[in-house]
Amino acid sequence: MKSAHAQHPVHSEDHGDQEGDHSVHKERNATLRFEHWGYRHASRNHFAVRGLNLTIRPGEHVLLLGASGIGKSTILEGAAGLLGDMAGEQAGTPQHQVAVEDADGGITEGRITVDDVDVHQARGRIGLVLQDPDAQAIFQRLGDNVVFGPENLDVPRDIAWQRVNAALDAVGMAGVQLDRSVMHLSGGQMQRLALAGALAMQPDVLLLDEPTANLDPDGVVQVVRAVHDVLDQTKATMVLVEHRADRWIDMIDRVVVLGLETDNDVRKINQNGFDDEINRDRFRNTVIVADGTPEQVFTDRNIDFNELGIWVPQRFRAPEDEIQRIHTADEPDYPAETGLPQTVLQTKELGIGRNGTAIAEHISIDFHPGQITALVGANGAGKSTLSLTLAGLLQPVNGEVVASDELAAPLTKVWPIDWTSRQLASRISYVFQNPEHQFACSSVIDEVMLGPLRTGVEEAKARERGMDLLRRFHLNQYAHMNPYTLSGGEKRRLTVAAALASMPRVLILDEPTFGQDRRTWMQIVHLIHDLRSDGVSIIVVTHDRELVTALGARVIELVPTEHPRDFADNTAETVAAQLLAPDAGEATLVPVSRVNEREDVIKPASRSRYLASINPVYRLFGAFLASLPLLLSLDWVSAAVALGLEFIVLMAIGFTPWRIVRSTWPIFIGAPGSALAVLLYGKAGGDTWWQWGWINITDRSAELALATGLRILAIGIPAIIAVLGIDATDLADGFSQILHLPDRFVYGGLAGMRLFSVLQDDWAALTASRRSRGLGDDNAVASFFPQAFALLVLSIRRSTTLAVAMQARGFGSDAPRSHARVSTVHARDWVFLVICLLMPVIALVSAGFAGTFSFMGN
């Protein structure tokens, strides 16, 4: 299980809430009031929200609607107390008359209160759940994420864990292993975990910012059900921002639609044309353009909900609101489902997988020009694995992906994985789900010119083609802007434009409609459909039922099965069955091995049970004590004695010599290098063996070289093995509780470390996207720097979101915190330190007796 020094209940079996205090079932709610509130983000010319007056009464469940860019997320962040600070309070003037700049460079006007208390002083009374499930997991272990809020509110340990159990119970995750990693949770589980994290703070007001936009249909059902149950029990006040209101409509009792007013008293509700966000010229203040029950608002014919990006709930939907099979100009007369008769790309007995293990085999599919194929299937079923393999970005495990002669010409190789990056870019393009994985240039126009330039098109022609594409995608006004500064929908359009610029015959899009509102959704769907007229074979990876309907796509579903032969029995319950429009043909089913719903095996904190039982901070100190004193003398006796003692002690606590070498192999390569440098250029003395240029090998340098090599091993082995396997969370708890380092920095650092594995995945995605865009042929050094830049930008984006998630849980103030995990120290920890110190002491004393002691090599 886990190491001994951090104690907390490992399973949430105890749902006891006798004391009432820690129960999430207790009814609690509050009034949320915006008083002439406004906020302008740093580096923006206009306020995002201004002059907003809105009161949300206790227990109300409000759906907040408005055009993209109207400031809905800003309103929720403000209500959660994450924007601005308290500086205005001291000014002594009524707050709404002053604008206050905060340390983020933003400007606040007016105020937001919860039961008449300024939100900045109401920590814990407001819970916020954000759109991106991955961004809200702060720590590696599941339970630690839920207990983080209570810790920040200084809730005593026992009660904190009871709250965790109650919160997990409320979101339907009772009994889950608390120390399992969040890495293997599905999007729906992650989002329920985020909800549990908010609930454990026992908020009076729950704010939900598009909590289901990034989830697959199954995840949406899970989260909506969890919120429904929670609201039933707590009667909390709730504010929801969501485009697909249908799923939520039963729990909503008030709908508020926002618009804006300009200087000349014009009211605006919608964006213009293809603008992604509402136009703010002459913006004066934010207004409420409709406010009432769902019935009243959704039947208000003055508001065009489709233009607002809202999917009107089924019961209020007019026939023209339904998503129909769409048609675009110059559309070819053959159906999208079949395309033209000839084949452009096919798989033959293909086996796919990431680490050489096939998750699906014997896949044989043909792709045709002008055809649209939808790859569907549950989360983690392997849709991305298949699409990356088709795109020549992932090696097939067995079988083959074969390009038609026409696609490959003039190349003789027909396997896309064998093509160079440039050859690939002009034939098959891949659009990644996260646009920031794909950007490689500093301006929008360069981004669309990159493909053509890389595939040998001359500059002027590339520019002309690029501008044409930007016009077609309504991005021409942004040609000279930095691609990272575009809005979400614009970024998505740009990545599609950039992929098309190199004129591929096959275009693969990974979840192109994920997280988009209805308006952007429509634009993207039309763009995709329009590509048929170019004879491109289009493959979309998607969960989106309406996307399949609108495009009239052929459906290929990956069906998880226990035994591949049984898959025919499962047909009825497959996603494809739900996805298919009544008039559509059969879906092609591809059996894949079932996703592993495994119990996490927690890695021990060391291969030695003794070492694993030592407090991590003591292990760290022990590593220093065992290694650093050896620096005092550079001689072969002390180094050899220390090395011998280390092997004996490590073997006594359960390491085999082979294991010691395996765990520390890099120093066995490094030590001879340093020894060689010393041999050639070290301090001279005694007979000279050989001299040439700066090289001067002498008795003394040879002796020192031997000592250096041995000592690097003697220092390195304990320094590595004593700390290898320490769990970062346990170490952080030790830093906080034993060394009393400030929690802000300790847990901020710990949260950053969780991103290590996330950033590793980012790096892999960046490598693949660069190959797909024709940048992959550059040598390692030339491609390293741009890719490192992209990684750093991603890491800063991820860390600013992380900061929001941490603050939403009440982290960051100077108020006292409690600690839900205990870092304990025992007598054995002190014994450990003594043993660690004894080894170098014995070694140095031996050198003294042997007469070889040589202070720092002098």
Partner: protein, 206 residues
């Protein structure tokens, strides 16, 4: 409507976002250091065989986390904090530089990088100070090597001098100069809008 704006005073107290960004710069850097150690083995030996000690010229690739975090976050201790996060992470995953030793190395390099900004009382954030920070970090790196594994080599001998000069130059160029332009590049993406450092870089507003 608003007669006046109460402006924020530049404060040296760390916000949560400062901590998060400095720590993640450390984490991303340790990932990059890791890749560098793979692609640099061959060049290292080549450079050593050209002029002994010349391989110091690539040392800057392991020094950039401190100066980069400092110029982005602009809080006292940012360089040190980012290096320590990177060092702890590397120590825990076990690597080329020997477990807990990485922590010590990071401490020394971070502290030296920090000195440059400290000298100017955390008021000057420009190219010059950043280059100085990178160079000092290089000095720390060189000193650490000679204090530990290269004790047997004369500090003032030709190897020691060449190694000193190349490491300091490398620190100044890679961990200093290049990081300044990297920061400008990142600021232009809009990722640093919440930071004074990001708002200082002019770009097209919308």
């Amino acid at each position: 409507m608003s007669a006046s704006i109460v402006e924020a005073k530049p404060i040296l107290k760390w916000r949560v976002v400062d901590i998060a960004v400095a720590s993640v710069i450390g984490v991303a850097s340790s990932l990059i250091y890791w890749f560098v150690s793979f692609i640099s083995t061959v060049p290292w030996s080549l450079l050593e065989s050209v002029v002994p000690g010349f391989a110091g010229i690539i040392n800057g690739l392991w020094l950039f986390a401190g100066p980069l975090a400092a110029i982005i976050v602009r809080k006292p201790g940012a360089a040190l904090y980012a290096e320590i996060v990177a060092g702890v992470l590397e120590a825990l995953i076990g690597n080329m530089w020997g477990g807990v030793e990485t922590f010590l190395m990071a401490l020394v390099q971070g502290l030296f990088a920090e000195i440059a900004f400290m000298i100017f009382a955390y008021k000057k954030w420009n190219l010059g100070v950043t280059v100085l920070s990178g160079a000092l970090s290089g000095l720390g790196c060189w000193g650490y090597s000679f204090f530990t594994h290269l004790q047997a080599i004369d500090l003032t001998g030709s190897y020691g001098i060449v190694y000193l000069i190349t490491t300091v130059i490398s620190g100044a160029l890679i961990a200093g100069l290049a990081m300044w332009y990297l920061y400008i590049g990142i600021a232009k993406t809009g990722a640093l809008d919440q930071f004074a450092s990001g708002r200082q870089v002019k770009r097209v507003k919308r």
